[in-house]
Each structure stands twice: as C-alpha cells, then as structure tokens.
Symmetry: C2
Subunit: 690 residues, 2 copies
C-alpha cells in the first residue's frame, strides 16, 4: 500500500478500496461508489451523512484502534451526533477525514437511494396457533369468605373460561400481578406462554400482543415484527450483523474466537446489542420517528405498565400505535450453526473442526433476559434447532416454511447467503448439505460488487467481434448504446448482473472455459491493473460512471464467481447421486439471490442441475419465514425439532471424488446436461457451445 | 433521653438501652449484657470484637445516618477490617466510640460464650429423592459417521443408562458442555433437575452434589447446607435477618414498604445479600477459615469449573473439602408470607390488609440467578407454597416435616417465632391460623431479655413471704442462695426463664391476676424506674450481675409476656372450638422456644390448652426441617402444594368473641381447665389457685 493511500471498507455493501489519505468519508464513499445521503451538499448542516467507524476490524491484523485512523472530533458534529452515538463511533461523513485504514458502517438511515429490501416478509400460509396467547378474565375481589391469593384467583378463571390448567407464573409477571389486578379493577388480560406459564398481566381488556421473528444471517440480520393476534407483519427491520467487523464469513468468526481472548463474548455481545437495536427500531416504527415532533404537540394517551397506547397527531388527523419493549412477548431466532452458537455465547470451535459436531441440535427456550435481549422481561426466545455441521436453525427455518417433507415432488432447496445450504428430497427422504459459495453470487466482495440499487449494472452484453460492452443499470431504462456516456451514472455490478458478466465474458472469448483471461485480447478494455498487475476487463469507462472510475471485473472476481457456482453445482450433483436421482422436480431458491436471479442464465451457467424452467422458483427469505412460522404456530416448533433430526446431513467434502467434481463444476459453462427446453430462450451460441 | 446518653440496640440479641455518650461499643455491650468476644482485653490487637453498624434503623425516625453516630475510623482497625467490610459498616468494638444512637449487629464470630444453636438441624426421617440428582455417563467422541451434537450425545446415554427422557438444558450448563466433555475425555457427571433439565456438567466421575435449605425467619435466618447424595447436613449457618433494621415484626416491615420509596427493594436486596453471605459461610465452612493459613503452605488440588477439590494441610495430616458457590445446585426456601413476598420483591401490602390475600399460594421454581442468589448459575430455588394470611411457606414447612395429615391423633402444632403460627387437626381435617405473639416468649424485646447463653437466668423462685429472689443462670450449677453474689455473673433472662418469672411474680403476690404490679409491696425490689417512672421488679442486684446493673423485669415486660401467652392460648382455644374439639391428643412446639420450654409451667400458665404432659414435644425448627425435606425429597414438594391448599385457614381476629377470649387468656394463670395429671408436679398453690 502506498504511503499516501489508505484502505477503507464500507459496510453493509462490502465496497472496498484504497483512497488518498486525507479525503473525507463522503469523498471516499464517492470514490468507491457507496451511497451516503448528503442533503446539504457537505455544508455540515444536514447531519444526514452520519456513519459509524467500526473498531476491531483492523486491530486483528495488528493495526491500532480507530483513534488514529480518522481526524479528530469537530465541533460541527455535536449538533447531530449525540454522546451515546459518539461513544459507539458515530461521525459525520462530510467532516471526518481518513488518516488510516478503517471499516465504516453506513446505517440504513444514512444510505442514499431507494432500498431494495432483500429480506422482506413474504405472504406465506401459517395456521394461527402462537406460543404466546392472550386471555381476558374478570375475577371477584378477595373477601374473608374467599381470601384466595391473586394468582390462584386468575388461574381459577383461566381454567373455567379457557380450560388452562396447572399454570405457572414467571417472577417478573408475578411482581406485576397485585398492582395490575387492582389497577384493572379485577379485569385483566393475561399473556400465557405455551399454555403453561403466565408471562404478563395487563389491566383491562386488550386485543393485541406482539412478537418478533429474527433471522441472524452471517452478513444481514432481519427482524419481522409481528402482531401475534392478527398475524400481520407490522414492520420488517434489518441491520448488518455487527460481527462483520470480526470477519466476513463463519470460519473467520470462529477463527476470531479461537485467536482472541474474549473474542466469543465480544461477538456475542455485539449481536445481542444489534438485536436490541433491531427491537428498538421495530417499536419506534410503531410511532414513526419523523412524526414525533408533530405528535408532541398532540395528545399522548398514556397506558399503564407498557400497555400499547395510541398517540394522537391532530394535525394529521391520525393516531399512531405506540409500543414499548415490554410489548415484545415472544421471539423466535434462526441462524446457521455458527451464528447460533456465537449469539448464545456457546463455543463454536468444534463446529468448525471435523467432524463438525454442534454443541446442541435441539431447539431452546431461553428467557430473553438471560441473553440480555431487552423485550418483555418474562418473554422467551425460541431458538430453532440445528441440523448438522454449519446447516443450522436457518435451514430448519427454510424447511418448516417450505415443508418439502409433505411433498411428493423431489425438491432441491438452495439457500444462498454467505454460506450456501442445500436440501434435497421429498416426503420419503430428505438430505441436507452446505457448500462454501461465498458471497460472490450476491455481488459482495467483488471489486465493484454492490447492492441492487440505482446505478448497479443488472444486465450486460459483450460483442464477440469487438468486445464492446453494452449494459443496463438499475434506475435507467435505456441501455448504454442508446445513451450518452455521462447519463449512465453506473457504480458497480449487482447480483443479477454477475451471471451475465461471466456468461458474456466467456461467449465473447474474453475468458476461457477454465475462467482465465485469454492472453491475447482484441480490445483495450482488457488490461493489467497498474497497481497490482492483475488482469482486469473494463465494463464501463470512468466517463460513464458516477464515481469517476473505470468499472472493471478482475481475474479474482471471475474466480470468486466460478468458485461459488462450482461449489453450488457440485453440491447439488453429489446430493443427487447420494439419493440415486437423475432429475429434480422443483428448484426453490431462497435468499435475495433467488428473487433476482435470471433462471435461464443460472441453468445455462450451471449453477444447479437441470430442471424445468417454470419449476424454478424464488422463495424469498425462507429462513425468516420459518422463524415467523414458529412465532405464529407452536406446532411448527415441534415440526422443527422433528425435521432437524430426520433430515440426513451429508458432509460433501469427504465424498471420494469431491475435488474432481468441484473442479469440473467450476468450468464455464458447465454443460454436461442438455437443455431442450431452453431452445430459443437463451442465445444459440451459449446453449450449444461445448 | 438525656443529652449525655445515647440509645443503642444490639442485634441479634435485641438487647437495648441507654449508655453514656462516648463509651466504646465493647463498654456499651457490657453495660447492656451483650457478649462480644475480646481475647486481647481491649488492647486493639486481637480483632475479635468486630461488629457492624447498621444503617437505616434510626433514619426512619428522621435521625441521620451512622456517620455522625460513632467515632471516626482509626488506623488500628485497618489490620482487622478489610475494605469490603469497612464499606458495609464493620468496626472494631474496642476502638469505636458511641456518639449517637446506633443499631449494632454482632456477627456470630464475634459473639462470646457458647452458642446455643436454636435452629440446629434435627435428625428427621426423609426419603432420598432429591430434585437434583447426579448421573455419570461415558460417551464416544463424534465421528463423520456419527457427528451428533454434544448435548444429544449425552442425552442418548442418559436415556439408555438411566431412562431419562426429553431432557432440556439450561443455557449456562450448555455453555460449559463442549469444554467439559473434552476436558473429561468424554466422561462426565451430569446434574439433572427434576428429571427434566440438565443444570450442570462436570468432568469425570463425581459422587457428591450439594444444596441448601433456608428458613427465612422474621428475626433469624438459618441455612442447612446439605449433601444431596448422602443427605448429611454438612453445616448449619445462621444470621440475623438484615431487614430487622427496618422493623422488628412483619407489620413493621410492610409499613416500611408502604411509607418508604424503594423500601421493598431495599428489604429484598438486603435479605438476598444476607442469603449470599449465608452461602458464603456455608462453603467457607467446608474449608475452615481458621485453617486457611496452614493450608496455604500446603497443597491446593485445583479442580475444573468449580468442582469440589481437596485441600491438603500436611501439618495437620488432613485434607479438607473445598466447595464453591457453583457447588450449590439446589435451594429450598421457607418463610412466612410477608418474608416470602419481601424476599421475592413482591408487594406485601395486601397481605397486611383485610382480608389478607397473598399474591400467590403455589410453590415457585425460580432460577437462583433471577433472584440475585449466587449459587450454581443454573440452580433453581424452590420456594415452598403459602397457606393464607401470614401463615406462609414456613408453616407448610412445619406441615410437611410433621405430616399431621398422616396421623390419627388430633395434633396441635405451635410454631413460636416473631409471629406465632398454629395448626390443628389430623388426617381428616387440618386448620391453621396465626396469632400475634410477638417475640417476648423467646426473651426478645424485654428490658433484660437475652439469648440462652452463659449468664442468662433460666430458672427463678420468689419467696411469697419476703419476695426474695432465688435463681439459676446458664453456665453455673449452684442457685443464687448457695453462691456468693459476685459469682452469679448474671446478665439477663432467656426464654426458658420467662414463664418462671411470670408464674413466680404472681405466686409471690408481686403482680395481680391481671398482670399489674400491686401498689403495696413488701420488698425494696419493687420500685419505679428513676428515668421513666414505670414500675419494675429487681430480679438480681447489680453486684450479682456481670454488667454492673440491676437486672429487672418491668411492667411493660409483664404485659408483653401476657400478650404473647394470651394470643397463643386464645388462638388455640378458638381453633378447637371451630373443630368442635374438647381435648388435644398431642402438642408439638416448633422453634427454639419448644426446645427449652418447661412444659408443666407452660400448661399451668395457660400457654396452650390442656394436654397430657408426655404428649407435649418440642420439634425444633420444623419449618427448616420442611425446607430440608423438600430439598432431599421432591415428593415433599408435591405434598407441600397439596397440603397448602387443603389446610383451612381461620382468621381468628374476625371471630365474634375474639376480643373477650383474648382478654381472658391474658390473665395469670389462665385456669379454666383442670390439670389432674399435674398434681404433685407443680406447686399446690399455683395449681389450685382460682
């Protein structure tokens, strides 16, 4: 690294690169094509460009803490960054200058451009049978003839009215009970967990209770804030997994634990803090922060004991629901085995070592308070069970959401995140496996990979004769060749452009079947990077970009994509062989990738084995759907434990010919299969090339 | 109060009085007949006279904190009082001078004289079936063929070897599991709670586990530190209930809560801190602190993860068992309803208001950590159920220890503590009640009441002619009239002397049947106190005492004793009437009083209704025995819940003629019954007086 350059990584986009020392964080974000909001044009007056400098990331490479890596605190920042934020590393992007290597987290509210919510809640069918249910009871006050205690008094009524027997009560709920009964004039709404334990008592008759289903991904965490009574998803909230600063994939996290004293606790504390932030966002969303000022002039109807209240905002002629942390009465959690263990502060070391045993498979009911999660103090967290190896509670979530074990069709379910997880089978048998796809298919960790946001290249064509590039960006209908260069304003390549790039590079003869750039090229787009001397191919010239840089795809990028597709294809193939199958009836693709993937290109490029095109479906964030299903239907919890022990886990890497299969699958395109149904759908030259 | 006098109360004895301002705490203790250890003769070199100045007691009367009430910290104290002790108010008694009113707690180790452990563990029969049991298992390490998770691996073995099914595991135990399994070379000892939940895993094969049964009395707290495997009581530890500083009886504590912001939390925190101190004493006792210095030269065999270790003390040729907090794997708790609620930080207000409903009857299983109790982090506290009104878990303890519901005999069980609790019945029916005896029968709160310790008057005779007094003190065989005055060294009256005093005062004509001192007296022993002008009677002259003071019994003392006996007798009588009973088959007296009471005198003085003398038995600390029974036999927990709902609670104070019955019962002696079996046993003149 040259002396006058510093390295910077922006999260959650993962965009990274070197920038001149001394530029501001906003300038650096422009150079690297990261969108940070700046309404005032860097006049230091809007406060929209607030970002967080993450500690720890560079430390582990022996580089000192953030202190010396950014310029010192400025007075202008005080107006926008409060003390608590300041302590956790928040700075204004337009003020803070880069003086060393840093990892920068751009919070959701500071990101410019329309967000593509990759983990939005899907409309799935769930039977209504939540673990936490509410019951309204009216009891008589005690008399000398009938001086029975408060708890037994409501229990008698709960049994008489609703048939609930042998109830327990959590100590926190018990402490609320005497006051609540009397405040509510002996009429109360009781929240009961699993028909077993009273976890909350509220005065009066109430209709609603709330919960949150959380999917802890290696990179992204999503929370589905849900009304347990109506099943409605009130809000979907997301954040970057704060552990990203310790390493980008599961193995890096496990290594951080093994090499850093207190590393496990730090990672656990960080994700718990993240979940608390998520819950905070969810409940704040019930009374939009932007409206806060208005409603302060309005009337706030106060409720007892954290009861939901309506906030009137007369100027808008509206009322808003206002919820509190205590209103979160149930939580479900999914995540891969490493995320599961680290969140629970359980040693993840052995999950990373052959034969990869988890510490526990079975689901857990843990009090939120025991994990430091700030919800209702008596609420439980239901942690879904793990399958085996890295295939954890997240995949169990996928399984209970998609229920392939109820289907006749032979289904292949692919969950592509930072770690790929595969399930194959039907009601007769199910097997699962994981494959190290890495995040390349989602556009992450590529030189110019980015989120699906305005300016991202989503389609591409390369002329085999001239190697000229035509492309389309998100937010602009016209392709490059029908536009002025300066109108393209492109910034990078998103997931849906990735497969296009690989296919086109090959079709146009820029790379060979093995993925290497050909030594002889027709175009000046092919070159060696002046800094690192690695081959790269220019997709868009600096004049077409909004970041004043050539947008390139590097040899390393191509390799990453190849590795990802190879791992996936090889995994699927080996699983089919294990099941003695020739053909799959259905392919379900979970995760953001599944929503945006070009199914034809995916088949042609050999991402997964052949299947009827109309039988390839994206199923969204199925892991999160599973967490929601478990939140809203306790039977799904039983199903989760059953399926986690009845899906057979296959460790692919120990298959005899794994290496050879993997190498073959990395080739472009992987054309061992025939695709008669693709005739006329994809270009001839791709389809019939051998 | 005169300007040059200060008021001081010593706990746990309850001895109180005024002493000259400026005397040391040791001097004050002598003046009031309290025993504080002082091996060095106040040369400030032995550190044995360490006492604790209690905050809060005088504050509630609007008097400022301790700071100004004792002399400032002296350098000499530093050698004996460590920083932590200093923060909690510990001082050396020989150094610290009184400058204002204070409440002083004399810790067990600073009390001089042989202790009479009033709450010692009795040898009762309990079936061995503890809630926490330990199981040894050996498992195979995971392989690729069999990569099952750690928890499921031990579960399979626990089911195969011991038939344990569907086990859960607490998160803390789960965190220990992977390391412990590998440290123990896949051989571990598993602690299982209620055949349901794994709460601890230790490496290797271990034979023992431990628990503690705790009786939280209004004044005294006793802990029975017990080996759950052998059922042996390893140690009995006691302390004064730290809440005493907020008030001496249950109503005073409830009032403190109702009148003081945060009062409930303060009382709850204090008793929890007390329990932690108790546990600390219990585990320290496993390796006697006095031997510490020697063993430090010896070899300490360290154990993994809080495992008990043996400490070798070669100079003594011995090894000691060393336990840690983690080794306390189960806890049971009893206490009256107010103590129960306050400890659990549950509003006790309504227990004190008609119709006195508790917040909960049913037993509770609460994690020790949720109460702030520092034991094994996964351990549960089993809180026994409450009956009704103030008759709480303590009486349920008495019931499951004595099991009158299994008996044909009609039993009256009297538990005399600061609050009196009564049970009457047999296998057909049981009723219970409480009566406000106050602590007078135990010698507390009398002008010269004291513990049963050397120097306490335990027997007394007053000559009806001369009103001369003869008496006997604990620790000296010869009565007063066969001794030199200076050899008596008496200090006060203990519980067993109390009834003697009342009977003799009456027999000798000093007081009337109604309890008033007669206006005309034959002896100069009768006088009016020079300070408060109240009548009093000198039992021992200053020259016979070791505290250079006349030992007197005051009119107020007589009233206190009358109130106590009246409340008790009247309670028993009303309960018998309710049951339609004429005669009781058996009287069981629980508590310290039962151990020391003169049964004949108790009958004659009308403490409780007539019964065959040999059928009156002391049953020791039966409440504590019940806690131990629940600790060692889980069936007793079921029994506790059953009996708590099947004993009928009678609120005596609402009985129509309660006041009249009470007034009658207060007379001395209460002679409505005939005592033919007492002929020749007690003096004629008492027996036949009407």
């Amino acid at each position: 690294m040259s002396d006058n350059k510093v390295k910077v990584i922006f999260q959650p986009s993962g965009r990274r690169g070197e920038v001149p020392k001394g530029v501001t964080l906003i300038e650096a974000s422009r150079l690297l094509g990261v969108d940070i909001e700046s309404l005032c044009g860097e006049k230091k007056v809007c406060g929209k460009c607030k970002v967080r400098i993450e500690e720890g990331y560079f430390e582990k490479f022996g580089i000192d803490s953030k202190a010396s890596h950014v310029s010192s605190w400025q007075e202008e920042e005080e107006k926008f960054v409060n003390n608590k934020e300041r302590e956790t590393g928040y700075r204004l992007g337009c003020v803070t200058k880069l003086e060393g290597d840093v990892l920068v987290f751009v919070p959701e509210e500071s990101r410019a451009g329309k967000q593509v919510v990759s983990k939005a809640a899907r409309d799935i069918h769930i039977e209504h049978n939540p673990a936490v249910k509410i019951y309204y009871v009216e009891v008589n006050p005690p008399t000398f003839e009938e001086p029975t205690g408060d708890f037994e008094r409501i229990c008698r009524e709960l049994e008489k009215e609703y048939g609930l027997k042998d109830l327990n009560i959590d100590i926190h709920a018990l402490r609320q009970l005497p006051g609540t009964l009397r405040d509510g004039d002996w009429k109360v709404t009781v929240s009961v967990w699993m028909d077993k334990e009273v976890i909350r008592v509220r005065p009066g008759k109430l209709e609603n209770s709330y919960g949150i289903a959380i999917d802890v991904g290696t990179t992204t965490v999503a929370g589905y804030f849900t009304n347990l009574s109506t099943m409605e998803v009130v809000d979907t909230v997301t954040l970057m997994n704060p552990q990203c600063k310790y390493g980008e994939d599961v193995m890096a996290r496990i290594t951080f634990h093994m090499t850093t004293p207190d590393g496990l606790k730090r990672m656990s504390d960080d994700i718990i803090e993240g979940l608390n932030w998520l819950i905070d966002q969810a409940i704040q969303g019930t009374y939009p922060p932007k409206k806060k000022k208005k409603a302060e002039n309005g009337k706030v109807v106060k409720g007892e004991d954290g009861e939901p209240v309506m906030v009137e905002a007369p100027e808008e002629g509206k009322t808003y629901l206002r919820l509190f942390r205590e209103d979160i009465e149930d939580i479900t959690l999914v995540g891969n085995t490493a995320m599961h263990h680290i969140l629970l502060n359980i040693n993840p070391e052995y999950v990373g070592l052959a034969p990869f045993p988890p510490v526990i498979h079975h689901s857990l009911d843990i009090r939120a308070r025991d994990l430091g999660i700030k919800a209702n103090p008596s609420a439980y967290v239901f942690v879904l069970p793990n399958e085996a190896g890295f295939v954890g509670a997240d995949n169990v979530g996928v399984l209970i959401a998609e229920a392939p074990y109820k289907s006749d069709e032979l289904q292949l379910i692919i969950d592509i995140g930072t770690n790929g997880e595969l399930v194959l089978g039907n009601k007769d048998k199910l097997i699962s496996s994981s494959c190290a796809t890495g995040p390349a298919l989602e556009g992450a960790q590529l030189a110019f990979g980015m989120r699906a946001a305005p300016g991202a290249i989503e389609r591409i064509k390369i002329d085999p004769e001239t190697q000229e590039v035509d492309y389309k960006v998100i937010g602009r209908d016209a392709w490059r060749k029908y536009s002025e260069p300066k109108d393209m304003k492109c910034k990078g390549i998103c997931g849906s452009g990735i497969l296009d790039v690989l296919a086109e590079l090959y079709r146009s003869g820029v790379v060979t079947k093995s993925g290497a750039f050909k030594k002889e090229q027709k175009s000046n787009r092919y070159r060696r990077n002046p800094d690192n001397k690695q081959p790269e191919f220019v997709l868009a010239w600096a004049e077409e970009s909004s970041i004043d840089k050539d947008i390139v795809i590097t040899q390393k990028d191509v390799r990453q994509i190849q590795l990802a597709k190879g791992a996936l294809y090889c995994g699927c193939k080996l699983m089919m062989r294990r099941m003695g199958m020739e053909k799959i009836d259905k392919v379900k693709i979970a995760g953001a990738f599944g929503t945006h993937v070009d199914r034809e290109k995916a088949l042609v490029m050999g991402l997964f084995p052949d299947c009827e095109i109309e039988k390839i479906v994206g199923v969204g964030n199925a892991a999160g759907d599973g967490a929601r299903a478990a939140l809203l239907n306790r039977e799904k919890r039983v199903e989760a434990n059953w399926v986690s022990r009845n899906v057979e886990y296959i460790e692919l890497t120990v298959e005899e010919d794994f290496q050879q299969q993997f190498m073959e699958a990395m080739q472009i395109p992987h054309m061992k299969d025939k695709f008669p149904h693709l005739e006329g759908v994809v270009p001839e030259e791709i389809l019939h090339q051998k």
